[in-house]
Point group: D2
Chain length 426, copies 4
């Protein structure tokens, strides 16, 4: 949650409203190609139906903003609070998460009606002028919905990957594979020292990104690009998935229990011929593109195999401080990672393509305090058993990204667009 | 499978085709009110999506009949064999049962196109004249589809019961409750002796209904009607669900593990005010109607509580031998059990309303041999751990029922339209 | 429970006491070679520690006999009722079954002191004269303890088989393998008809063995010996464990889930060289001896593979009616099955060696009523999901066996000394 | 593993040998009161049998030291490598952890013979002079065995707590409760800054304690004593276990799934009358003693409830830097936590009594590299999903403790002697 929101001053309210509208439209644009059935199904307890994402983000505005700040607003349907609350204990009971896919009603059409109703209420509220507290929460709601945009695509990919028909979310025509492979991997030296990290409170950020604080970073060297599929295939074929000495203890248990042999969504059609399920249907693995859909356990084992390690989140943030915030984001509609640009020097692919696993556990920063009220449940209560990922992916909205952004997932999660960048001690 | 099918003679082929058509139309009629999402979702591994029922019954005709007997027929989509095979190992690999609800594609519309394609192939085949072997399999396919009609409704009820909105499959308007309660329970004496049971091979029957054979039945007395909700509430309020001495050992384990306190779908809104989920939405429990959605364990415990027992399947068949094959079937579209007719003497409610649990394990009859080929997997391989139910229910098609019909489910199954009738030793 | 016990008349009380004493001594003899640790461990929830068997059988006499009939008796330790009740709900709460192996206290020595205390009380009670009701329960207690003697050995074998050291319960020296293999398999014709089965009430029997009643048996043919290991190896090497069409549906699920490839306790050291864990340590599989430690699922699949079937329990009982009650029982201390005698004609191995799976579900006989009181929980509440086995095994005490004896286990159970005999329709 | 061991110089070898001997004797002293059954049983997969602890620590010396450095040494039993390897993948296959309790053989006596054999080999080796590499590993083995001494007691307590007889490991006579309760809780200000943490390589330390490095600590305040049972009862009675807003998300899931209502081993005999299972049997909860047997989740929820937080491991280490290394350790044989000394100022109970949960995930220090070879699996592969605990407990050997010592357990672990100390931002 933003310690200082960016739309406070009255003159910026129209800007807030256009941000709100563009976010809301993007969600619906993303769901355009989904049938009612596609939007209803839930492929595993950790994933949610598209319909649920569309409704839950709307519920957030209804419950956190409209019910609190708009006396004129009429709740669309009282039962929706039960259905579309995700995990806010302070807001009461809720539908059990693993059963979200059984909500065939309300239909997709009814969800769109719900969205329209709330959008109308929101426009009326903002246009009538809102307090700074409301502005903060509206901005939070927009960023919340952007998070769910990425999840919607991530979850649809997981759903479609369960279907032997391998449906494509977007046209399956193979993308033009860029001619040149990635550069040879190089490492860039970083001096370190006592540095400042975390969000400084200017503009929006989630609560867990701050407060800004000092940390001591030893000199280190950071890979100038992401690990590629070509490199990952060497790991596979070099026995990486068969050697327990490379793995964290819990990771090796997963390898055995779930018979991991390659990244999620991959299959080997004939010897050495790897395919992967993507939002554009089943496609051959692009050797020069960054590896994607790997767990922390796999990222860590790979790094051990090549005698390197994962960076900490502060090493990453330190390296990212001067990098232009551009990359292969959702906005490109490529919907899968792209090979690193070739030529030149310096760190690349910091933003977009794939989330980069760091070796940092998701812990509170010094003096971190969750916000009061329901939004205090946003991040703080997940600070246990998760690792931080940085940089965003090819399904992250560009306007959602920041150098201080901390994504987090448990170490066994593979269905996110997650990959890795290597580091080493200097 | 019918040891002797009923449509063999050429002159009856048009009759076979009309039976085929009426069955096929009924399935689509039953699915009319379902959205694509409703038809896609799967509420538990034991239930299947409506879409799947519609496709699987079609797959049966395509695979077992058309591919074997029609050289002109073109398979609609080669991948459907993988998707819509239920459990026929002889036909090859198949989509895992618990993941049927993830098949958002093919859509409901595509399934209808599949049905139309197969219907056309079938009409062409039958009209061109078919061998007795094909006739037998077509008839089997029709009865198979009728079974799935009942399952489709049973599974939809289970799905809708998971939804806090409690959607109604058919208009929720409360049915007129018939004025008189059920008669006092009476028992009718049956002399028993060495009797013949099982299907005699005239007309259609599933393979497990025969061969007809002798069995010795001791004299007994059979309840003249089903156990009612009113009686069941006495069991609830008399502590039936709290007393382990009434229960089979495995049954008591289920009571504890799943906190059973009343039939499936029931809830007690205030003290003594019981409601139940039905195909017509949430409705008050009708005290005079037969209790429904109970497991074998519950049926057996109730019988123990009142000092009686369940009948064997042969006692039931013996009592049913002279009863008119009529009752509250699917055809009435009431879609829930009805109180027994009052007045008069004699056994009633033998057919329709609810499947009656018997104390007979589902075992092979003497000299039973499963059919050769895939249809040999129809029944025989389930002869283990299941109990026989008799008489059909309010969602069974009337033309599907016979006195020798053996339905079977595991003793913990509650989502079927299952109830009970008492018996006692004479 | 015996409908008519055999020691009623006062003059027979000394006979009752010697039976009691010999049973009690046998239990302790069987436990002689066990350390305190051996006697404490529980290898799976379905098995019990030897210490527990020794204590629970004692608890039975204390609770069911002494507390009810002996005013002079003082309970040994009040906490033992909680610890050593197996499943009698009417007698109150009890220690959870899967945690029996955590009762390191009381020690084996304390259990022996408990046994001595109860034995003394029992002797005093019987010597002072007892009512027929007490006699019945004492006799029941003795047969109960004999059942647990078999279980004690069965469970010890399971425990020792988990230990990579493969400890032998009794001297591991290989037994002399009898020179001749088994005869060629032959089938003996049985005419059938309307026959009487079940216990007639003369002498002791468990309640589930009666009442004696009529049943109709079609003519059939019964194998003259048990299926051998040699035959079973043909099934293994002929792909029996790889072909789903041979298996019951639940059986095939088990084969896959638990990777069954041969009987329990077998391993293939080199190609075709099978060994098995026995009470005499790891031993080579004896080709001529009956196969043992197979589930109902395996027995049924084998019978299907050879085009036969399992007998019903009434076919078995009918065939056993004229057979001498002798065989390879516990009393021989061989402790593993023995090849069938060669030469001559007629059915052999009816008693002893291995329990024979029948295709009969364990169901109540007509007019069966469980006894009143706690002992009514002995058998009746298990009449669900189990199959009947007949004839006893090489770890059954000879004096425990009868032609009407019904043992029962779930179809997946493999740790019992269970094998099979084939049958076919005439 | 020690980066610099403390017994390198030849003149210190006798000192090394006495350390070795005293550690080995202590283990046997601790097991003195256990029966063969007590020492064999395993109460849960996370716990190990006492016999296994005694053998595994011996296996460590045999495999890591004797096999590598002593050509004269003869392996005691080749099968023991399979039985007593804990988790060293580099050393090969091993007995599955959850089945350790089924190893009734070797017996406790055989384990003692194994110990004697290895002790003799070790004495011979050390007396004949050993290389620095061997010294390091011997010292590591001693500290490894000390860790297992604590675990042996921790696991025995868990085992005995499963037994309704509530056996006492040591005399159950209630200890004298010290007269004064604990002081009012006070917080001591700590200035923080850029500090050095981690082991400096002088003397023994495990590999994960280093390298020593800089970290920046903000000013904070640390509680001067541990949280007491009295304070914990306020949390219980104030609804702490009922309020999801106090808990981490995974923690609340545990509270619900396992019905946590008080610390492990506690029960409330009558209203407000709390008892707890201890190594001295069931005892009343001592209000002034530190709370023990709580998970990280509970510690964190408590801190939230009182508006404080847990310290980081570096805050703790910083506070501990000047504290005398003394406290209620195993050596006192009190075997349960003791109230804090009253009177005076300053932080107390830093060492001993209970392990203190910190909010620090167990992560590698900058430039950490696991040792080469098997001992590299000691700590590094567990750096995922665990939290650091500091300070040792009443069952930790005093000579095993250091200010840099990092113990680690998953956040749900409760069977360790774990409690908490509060901190707050300055
Ligand atoms: Fe959300
Ligand atoms: Fe079917
Ligand atoms: Fe028993
Ligand atoms: Fe260890």
């Amino acid at each position: 949650r933003g310690s200082t929101a960016s739309f406070h001053s009255g003159s910026h309210l129209s800007q807030l409203l256009s941000f709100y509208r563009s976010v809301r439209e993007t969600s619906e644009y993303l769901a355009e190609s989904l049938s009612d059935g596609d939007a209803t199904a839930q492929s595993m307890p950790d994933a949610s139906p598209a319909k649920w994402h569309l409704a839950h983000t709307t519920w957030f505005f209804e419950t956190i903003v409209l019910n609190a700040f708009s006396s004129a607003y009429c709740v669309f349907d009282e039962k929706f609070n039960f259905l579309f609350n995700s995990y806010y204990n302070s807001i009461g009971a809720r539908h059990p998460r693993p059963k979200r896919g059984l909500l065939t009603r309300p239909s997709l059409d009814e969800i769109y009606a719900y969205r329209a109703h709330v959008d109308e209420g929101m426009a009326r509220l903002v246009e009538s002028g809102v307090s700074p507290a409301a502005v903060e929460l509206i901005e939070l709601g927009c960023h919340h919905e952007q998070q769910h945009q990425e999840l919607l695509l991530t979850d649809i990919l997981h759903l479609f990957a369960q279907n032997p028909l391998r449906p494509a979310y977007k046209s399956a025509a193979p993308l033009v594979v860029e001619p040149n492979g990635a550069n040879e991997l190089a490492f860039v030296a970083m001096p370190g020292g006592l540095i400042d990290v975390g969000h400084d409170g200017k503009g929006f950020a989630f609560d867990c990104e701050g407060p800004r604080h000092k940390t001591f970073v030893e000199p280190f060297r950071l890979a100038d690009r992401l690990v590629t599929n070509r490199e990952w295939i060497e790991f596979i074929e070099g026995g990486g998935y068969q050697n327990p000495l490379l793995w964290l203890s819990d990771g090796w248990a997963k390898v055995l229990a779930e018979a991991w042999m390659m990244p999620l969504y991959w299959d080997e059609r004939d010897k050495g011929n790897y395919w992967t399920m993507t939002l554009r249907g089943a496609q051959p693995v692009d050797p020069a593109a960054p590896v994607c859909h790997i767990s922390y356990f796999e990222a860590d084992a790979y790094a051990t195999w090549v005698g390197r390690r994962l960076p900490t989140e502060f090493e990453w943030e330190y390296a990212a401080r001067d990098v232009m915030r551009a990359g292969n984001f959702l906005d490109s509609e490529r919907l899968r990672p792209r090979p690193a640009p070739v030529g030149g020097n310096g760190v690349r692919q910091i933003y977009g393509d794939v989330w980069e696993w760091t070796r940092s556990a998701f812990s509170p920063y010094p003096r971190f305090k969750p916000a009061a009220g329901a939004v205090g449940e946003y991040n703080g209560k997940f600070m246990c058993g998760q690792f931080v990922l940085r940089g965003g992916s090819c399904v992250t909205p560009a306007s959602h990204m920041r150098p201080t952004y901390r994504n987090f997932f448990p170490p066994e999660a593979r269905w996110q667009f997650s990959g890795l960048r290597l580091a080493e001690d200097a």
